[in-house]
């Protein structure tokens, strides 16, 4: 299978995170030969999503493989004399302070000891590394523009590890690519159909069960495939760069999305819904009539604040929260606007930044629904994969491959390369809970909640709660992601918020009365390295044809990744269009034939039942509702 892998490429991309995948797709669209490599056995790097068992083995890897030092000298034989090797890291140091808690009751037939160990273990720091290391050799030749880089995969695998290196090749041949694309598409479809059809009986099961029947850990394990747990928790702004890119490049057909249904706020110990769209304000029961008017008036102003400079110019020097106090807004409304709509804090942004953020939020409203955000079904980890589709996947080891451009994701660099880099950290927590933080008639809500930092200097925590219909968790549970910029370890940063919003499962089992807060079934904390905004100069000794992709940033949207991908793409392919749509199959000239071959036969009967309205959003031209 691997014998016929070409030995020369235009671009080699190492890492399958979102920016890398976008660049690989863009380069391939522009006709470059791209080798896309990932040493992990899953897509996405730190952008990945895992099933429940997947996340458990991801955690395990961090424990077991922490000390692998497995120098394989074979690759060195292939380094040519005029080339210089850059060692890539075998350890992934991007994840730290991993702690796991299980609150769901453990079944009797389960290994009690192991469960106990798991609980005890929670305070220990587990650091892991990827099992696979790639090494590259590099030596600038006399002619800089023609310099070659050889990419080398170690032939020897750790015997214990069944890891495989996933190689992806963009088939540059027209027919090949076409076929593959269709193959993949049908495959993807049938997979999802399978998924949903399988889901149905399960759903009935849970519904039939009486409410008292609580979810146990073994149920979670059993239903582990229902989970798609994202390492990064992000949403798509419905007018953000990523949506634009997905539409422009037609990659959107590989993904389905759901609209976030609610924006929530946490105020005075209570979770409440933030009315942000016109329909929300109209339907809101918590706002008075006058507040409705105030809020709508202010939001309408924000939509085109630039046109009314006299209304905010005098306040440019002060913070946005101070500015809000000067407006006709009740404290209630000021809180909503500051924390839930502009999503900033008391001190973080000035008037203009706040207005800009508010405008951006409002600008995204209504494109696909009543909130500005979309979530990809099956998790954020789907997105890098979308850009990776239509390629062949090959397991490949031990071959010398040459390329002009080298794109490396930050986590692959060795300590030597990064010794001077100052990384920030992201605090992350993933929870499985038994109900929503704000109960309503519908149990299929997808919510985002911002909890402002309590003391000055602490950061706001972003909470995203996903319901089972996002295909990220099993029936009867919610998957909750917490994210903030780290000031301490993830648990130290996030536990206070978790305690405010949830109660551990065990405590409440004693009392029989209805508890207000959702109960925690399982919790995971970890810190992730934030390599965004790191200047290329901070890395040691990078050759000019090696480009760096950063891992995920802490922000809510994906704009950073897209911007970075576009910037790097322009370096590799100056003056090329970034991710143009694939040509219409009808317009592709095969064998140089001309137009005569096309039979345009008269058939005015439209393709009936084009599409029945689906629950999920498919991207397209949504803005055409008019009367």
């Amino acid at each position: 299978m691997a014998d016929n892998l070409p030995s020369e490429f235009d671009v080699i991309v190492i890492g399958t995170g979102l920016p890398e995948s976008i660049i690989a797709a863009a380069c391939s669209r522009s006709g470059l030969r791209v080798l896309h490599v990932d040493s992990r056995n899953y897509y996405g790097g730190n952008w990945a999503s895992f099933s429940f068992s997947g996340i458990l083995s991801w955690l395990k890897e961090y424990q077991e493989n922490s000390d692998i030092v497995n120098e394989s000298p074979t690759w060195q034989e292939q380094i040519l004399e005029n080339e210089e090797a850059i060692a890539l890291s075998r350890k992934d140091k991007t994840i730290q302070h991993v702690e796991v808690f299980c609150y769901a009751s453990q079944d009797l037939h389960e290994d009690v000891e192991e469960a106990g160990a798991l609980q005890k273990n929670h305070a220990s720091v587990i650091s892991g590394n990827p099992t696979e290391a790639a090494h590259s050799a590099y030596q600038p030749s006399e002619d800089e523009s023609l310099c070659t880089v050889s990419c080398e995969m170690p032939t020897e695998q750790t015997p214990s590890s069944d890891q495989e290196t996933a190689l992806e090749i963009n088939d540059v041949e027209v027919t090949g690519e076409k076929e593959k694309r269709y193959d993949d598409k049908t495959h993807a479809k049938s997979a999802s159909e399978e998924e949903t059809s399988e889901n149905v009986p399960i759903a009935e099961d849970t519904v039939l069960q009486p409410k008292k029947n609580r979810i146990t850990y073994s149920q979670i394990i059993k239903e582990g495939r229902r989970f798609n747990i994202d390492l990064v928790s992000k949403l798509l702004y419905s007018r953000g760069l990523l949506i634009d890119l997905l539409i422009k490049s037609n990659v959107s057909r590989y993904a389905e999305f759901k609209n976030i249904t609610r924006i929530l706020a946490f105020r005075e110990g209570r979770v409440e819904q933030v009315p942000c769209s016109r329909a929300d304000v109209f339907n809101s029961k918590q706002l008075t009539m006058v507040e409705k008017r105030m809020l709508m008036k202010f939001l309408t102003f924000c939509m085109e604040y630039e046109k009314h400079p006299d209304e905010y110019k005098a306040y440019e020097e002060i913070t946005f929260s101070e500015y809000l106090k000067t407006q006709k807004l009740t404290p209630n409304l000021q809180y909503f606007v500051l924390h839930s709509i502009a999503m900033t804090s008391e001190t973080a942004s000035n008037t203009v930044d706040g207005l800009k953020a508010t405008k951006n939020f409002l600008h995204c409203l209504g494109r696909y629904g009543n909130t500005p955000f979309l979530f990809p079904l099956y998790g954020q980890g789907e997105l890098p994969q979308c850009f990776c589709r239509c390629k062949a996947i090959i397991d490949q080891f031990g071959q010398r491959i040459i390329s002009k451009h080298f794109l490396v994701e930050d986590s692959y660099f060795s300590e030597n390369t990064c010794s001077h880099v100052q990384y920030r950290q992201i605090s992350r927590s993933v929870l499985i809970t038994d109900r929503s933080v704000l109960k309503t008639d519908s149990d299929q809500q997808i919510s985002i909640l911002t909890v402002p930092g309590e003391e000055p200097g602490t950061f706001a925590v972003r909470v995203i709660e996903l319901c089972p219909s996002t295909m990220t968790c099993m029936k009867g549970t919610y998957l909750v992601h917490l994210t903030c910029t780290s000031s301490k370890t993830a648990r130290e940063d996030l536990e206070p918020v978790v305690q405010k919003l949830f109660t551990p499962y065990t405590e409440t089992e004693i009392e029989n009365e209805e508890v207000e807060k959702p109960r925690l079934l399982w919790a995971l904390y970890f810190n992730m390295r934030d390599s965004s905004d790191i200047s290329r100069n901070s890395y040691n000794d990078l050759p000019s044809n090696v480009y760096v992709c950063s891992g995920p940033d802490c922000g809510l949207g994906n704009d950073n990744a897209v911007k970075q991908a576009e910037r790097l793409f322009q370096l590799i392919c100056p003056n090329e269009d970034f991710c143009p749509p694939p040509p219409n199959p009808e317009d592709i000239i095969i064998d140089g034939d001309s137009l005569q071959s096309e039979t345009s036969e008269f058939s005015v009967i439209p393709e009936a039942n084009s599409e029945t309205p689906k629950e999920s959003t498919s991207l397209g031209n949504p803005e055409e509702t008019s009367q």
């Binding site: 522009s30 470059l32 027209v174 008017r293 039942n609």
Partner: protein
């Protein structure tokens, strides 16, 4: 760069498209021709269905072809077995759906669907409701679909409560939805029928309050959205005034009976029959309007024969029965009296509350409070200002008169495009107030001077007025309805901008008319005055016609009966 797909250039693409279009057009035209030929030849068979479906599939707005299809289907109905027909109908329904996808607002397609469903022995209405719901999900303001939904809901006898819940769900999604609000206004009276004795079409107070809250949410959220304001107005003023005879007046001198109605009617048109009983025996009379024109009017009159007015009896009773309006009234002419009348004791409610009904005044009061609150936040919102004015009038027109006038001023400033409409509305309200004041005082003299009036209305209320002062206003005409003032003796209309006098005609008692400082240009505009038998004094100073050569002679010729014409 290597590895690129070869694709057609844009010129090639354009050329390919052009050729394709040309080809399509050719086929479209030939198919149309074939259909027309077959129709003419009476070959209404399935091939016509096939051909028309090709054309309508591309252009569902081709109404003639839908007719063609109906002809074919009707013919096939007679020929086919029930099973074949069922299959045919199924295809037709599917085809209609595909046409609606091409154009969801095609009149022809929706109509055809109505027609088809109406002919089916066992139509599947549930499916049709589902179809509507789906199309309304795509565009919640598609009134074609709303229309069809109402048809389906009626046919399927869907409980109004369910349909109301449906409008709820759509208003929740986007309250800017005229159709949805309108549907509510149809459903709510069905859901809450009033006892027979009460005024029809009104809602119980608790329902009304709930609706008011809902609609308030809408206009506080977006005060510029008209749909909510329209619904608000419907909520507050839905009761039609009950048909009534407002006033009967009988005059011995003119041998004439005058009747004033609560709404304009066309007496003698078949539906509107008016029976007159004089001293309890029916009398056949000829009814006419005061200005002699046969068209709907508030006031009708008839000449009475001398026998019904003779002085031998102590009194004559005149009993008028309006059959269509189920109303009647009686008045008495006493011996020795020149005239007699009967009029409802004037209350504002009966006279002018037709636009905003009198609900419990607490409801109106609280509506007024919230509108004023909104107005403070949105001082320039015209809908809010207008609603405040209407609410004030509904509550107490006289008490709020001054405030209302101030709101009118603000409203005119923020909505200059409708200044003339607002002037007229303001005139109407001022006139109503004056009439009320006059009636409370029980006098027959009405002063309407210095009020900035631009238009005269409610003249049918002034049947008994003898002295009318309209001076110092902005009137441009004395309209035909003025002819209803059968008792008018003195009319002052100085200092206006009057150009025409159509209404100053056939006024049996008019003696004195002042028209100084107006815009009467030609003596000919005074022609209507010739029909006022008792007119003796006419003031015309300060009109353009005074400067015309030979004006006095012309006037003397035109109005020989008028003793003094001052120019």
């Amino acid at each position: 760069m290597h590895g690129r797909l070869k694709v057609k250039t844009s010129e090639e693409q354009a050329e390919a498209k052009r050729l394709e279009r040309e080809q399509k057009l050719k086929l479209y035209q030939s198919a149309t021709q074939t259909v027309f030929q077959k129709r003419q030849a009476g070959e209404l068979d399935e091939s016509v269905l096939e051909l028309t479906s090709q054309i309508l599939g591309a252009n569902p707005d081709f109404a003639t072809l839908w007719n063609c299809r109906r002809e074919v289907l009707q013919r096939l109905e007679a020929q086919k077995s029930p099973e074949e027909l069922a299959a045919l109908v199924k295809t037709e329904l599917g085809f209609l759906e595909s046409c609606l996808r091409v154009n969801p607002k095609s009149y022809g397609t929706w109509h055809h669907r109505c027609w088809l469903l109406g002919r089916l022995p066992e139509p599947n209405w549930a499916r049709e409701l589902e179809l509507c719901a789906r199309f309304l999900e795509v565009d919640e303001r598609n009134f074609h679909c709303w229309d069809y939904r109402r048809f389906v809901a009626t046919q399927a006898a869907v409980p109004p409560a369910e349909e109301l819940a449906f409008t709820d769900s759509l208003i929740t999604r986007n309250f800017s939805n005229y159709s949805s609000w309108h549907y509510r206004s149809c459903l709510l009276p069905q859901l809450h029928p009033q006892p027979d004795t009460g005024p029809q079409g009104r809602l119980p107070e608790d329902v009304l309050l709930k609706e008011l809250e809902l609609v308030q949410n809408a206009f506080f959220t977006d005060p510029n959205d008209q749909s909510a304001w329209f619904y608000h107005r419907w909520l507050l003023g839905r009761a039609d005034p009950q048909d009534a005879l407002r006033c009967l007046h009988v005059s011995r001198d003119e041998a004439c009976l005058t009747v004033s109605f609560s709404r304009p009617v066309l007496v003698g048109s078949g539906t509107e029959t008016l029976l007159l009983m004089v001293d309890e025996s029916p009398l056949a009379v000829e009814w006419r309007t005061p200005d002699g024109r046969t068209r709907p009017s508030h006031v009708w009159l008839c000449d009475l024969p001398a026998a019904s007015l003779n002085d031998q009896l102590p009194q004559h009773t005149f009993h008028v029965i309006w059959t269509a309006g189920e109303a009647q009234k009686e008045c008495v002419l006493l011996k020795g009296r020149q005239e007699g009348w009967c009029r409802d004791s004037a209350t504002d409610a009966q006279l002018f509350r037709c636009e905003l009904s009198v609900e419990k005044s607490t409801v109106l009061q609280s509506e007024l409070e919230s509108c004023k609150e909104l107005q403070e936040l949105e001082p320039e919102n015209k809908w809010c200002l207008l609603t405040i004015i209407l609410l004030m009038r509904a509550l107490d027109p006289l008490l709020y008169e001054k405030e209302t006038l101030q709101y009118f001023q603000t409203l005119k400033a923020v909505d200059p495009m409708r200044a003339a409409y607002l002037d007229d509305l303001r005139s109407k309200f001022l006139l109503e107030n004056s009439v009320l004041k006059m009636e409370y005082a029980e006098v027959r003299v009405l002063h309407l001077g210095h009020k900035d009036l631009t238009v005269l209305c409610h003249l049918e209320q002034l049947l008994l007025v003898t002295h009318l002062d309209l001076s110092h206003n902005r009137l441009r005409a004395l309209p035909p309805a003025l002819a209803a003032l059968r008792c008018l003796e003195v009319l002052q209309a100085n200092d206006n901008a009057i150009e025409s006098l159509d209404g100053v005609t056939s006024l049996p008692r008019l003696q004195e008319l002042s028209l100084c400082n107006n815009r009467l240009r030609q003596p000919a505009v005074l022609q209507p005055l010739a029909a006022c038998p008792r007119l003796v004094l006419l003031h015309l100073q300060g009109n353009p016609l005074c400067h015309a050569v030979g004006a006095s002679e012309h006037l003397a010729e035109l109005l020989p009966a008028v003793n003094s014409i001052l120019t």
